[in-house]
Amino acid sequence: MAPIHIVAATGCPTGIAHTFMAQEALQQAAERLGVSIKVETHGQVGIENALTAEEIAAADGVIIAADKDVNAARFDGKRVVDVGVKAGISRPEALIQEIINGTAPVRGKRPAAPVAAEDTEDHGLFGDTTVQSGGGFQARDLYKHLMNGVSYMLPFVVGGGVLVALSFLWGIYSADPEHPEQYNEFAAMLKTIGGTAMGLMVPVLSAFIADSIGKRPALVVGLITGLIASNGGTGFLGGIITGFLSGYGMLLLAKLLDRLPRALAGLKAIFIFPVLGTFIFGSITYLIASPMKGINTSLQDFLSGFQDSNPILLGLIIGAMCAFDMGGPVNKAAYVTGVALLGDGNFFFMAAVSAACITPPLVTGFAALFFRKGFDAKTRDAAYVNFALGATHITEGAIPFAARNPLLVIPILMVSSAVSAILTFLFQVQVPAPHGGFLVLPVVTNGLQWVAAILAGSILGGLIYGYAMQRRINTQQPQPSVENEKEVLV
């Protein structure tokens, strides 16, 4: 039997003592047990004795003895013993024994001990979309996988949607040679390019949901099943289903194939996973595409029916959802629905969602504009900046204000956004691009009415919010004359 080689990482909050004691303890225990070990330390002076990717790849197992983030994601797929730094000091031999015996769980496949890690990876359009692999199956994970797909999908929708919308500047039939009075070659080209980008929406959504769950083998299967679903007319719902199906399906497949001899490991990634995975999940998708299409169609019908018969209620719901958590899951649920409906050619819903998302920052801006005394100078500046943020559809600008007085501010914002969304529906506004705020005005149908709807909601909210803040200030200062004098002195 070849000698066992272990890599380890230690770290503690102060990074002076425990980190290095754990390193020493592990090294000694390794010596006693006759295995080789390399220990990377995450100390006050930085990372020392750093592990290389080759060393990690060659190791039989990994020991993490740390009370801080040691970038554990690079150990995915290895057998990992993940414990606090003190366990590294007090029972190093037991930890090494777990690697020797092969009882340590494989990270990123089966539940591992929870990692107290801070996310340092990049944050996309939707904030944190990285997935902490390992850990139990949680609803939060589902949301993260979904958002990973959405954040990869979004640029396709933006790029494609805007180009398609631009082509309509030459007229609604500008890309159709059957209508020579409007036909324009450049417009036709724009529409073809944009349409291709839009066509990738569902496959990309599916692929990156799957990728988030099961990494590269799942990405392949997710992309293929997403395209099958898309071609089958299942819409974005189909893409979500195939994404999760492919992701979790491939995890399951990997687990079933875990028993294969090691010699076949190389073959697995390049041959077995793509062929078997594509066959199995492609077939499933093929079979369920038609019922999914039915569900998708009836949902579209339901929403557009709702839109026609009860625009006020739908506007109220969208507005309230968008302003409820400003960029959080509830907001995103409404937003993602809007984006998805764009792909199905429904531009009304997106118009309402955009209006509702643009409104909250504007509310804070108007409040500070109308009621200067209700806000201190710093807050006022932040509020004015929110005019720019709101105009470009960055709802998050309102969060600092809502965080300060959530019970007061959030209801006001919800009402304001609902007003904007309802008016948008009533004015029959169509917004074909999923982001950009007022920058996309040239491609908005009934753009002026849209701006009016948003301003109406924002100004109304601004008046209520500003008045409330001013009253608060006044009631907090029972002797206004004295306080005012002080203010002058300062």
Binding site: T14, F20, M21, E24, V45, I89
Partner: protein, 153 residues
């Protein structure tokens, strides 16, 4: 080296009945040696580190440490008690010797920090803890640590 690891920094046969009293002893010693200007900030630093997780090790040894702006130079303060005190430790034994690491906030020089880390690492070597507990004089304690720090790494 000498300022960090000197016999003056070692107190043997001290008496304390609680962890808080041990902290006070360490802080008073730090002020006496000119390592810190004010005992209260040292105690606060030690306490706040302790809240993040106990510093008690095994065999009656603990390594309380503090990082605080009130500490002017990195140093080691060692206190060995006549009788052990209650202290959450890895082997659930009370503590009789505190090897305390004092670190200035924002210490830039890595040499000193590495030296402190070396001392901590030394404590994990076979036999060192027993030798420290049995050392008969401050000079012997320092001699032991120096010898292992030098031979180590």
């Amino acid at each position: 080296m000498s300022s960090i690891l000197a016999p003056e920094n070692v107190t043997l046969n001290a008496s304390a009945s609680t962890q808080a009293e041990v902290f006070s002893l360490i802080a008073a010693k730090a002020v006496e040696l000119g390592i810190a200007a004010d005992a209260a900030t040292v105690v606060a630093g030690l306490e706040s580190r302790e809240k993040q997780g106990t510093t008690g090790l095994m065999d009656g040894i603990a390594i309380p440490h503090a990082k605080s702006p009130g500490i002017t130079s990195p140093a080691l303060v060692i206190v060995r008690l006549r009788e052990s005190v209650e202290w959450e430790s890895l082997d659930e034994q009370p503590i009789i010797m505190a090897i305390s690491l004092l670190i200035p906030e924002g210490e830039a020089g890595t040499t000193h920090l590495s030296l402190l880390s070396q001392v901590a690492r030394t404590l994990m070597k076979p036999g060192v803890r027993a030798e420290l507990l049995a050392a008969e004089s401050p000079d012997a304690v320092i001699g032991l640590l120096s010898q292992h720090v030098m031979s180590g790494s």
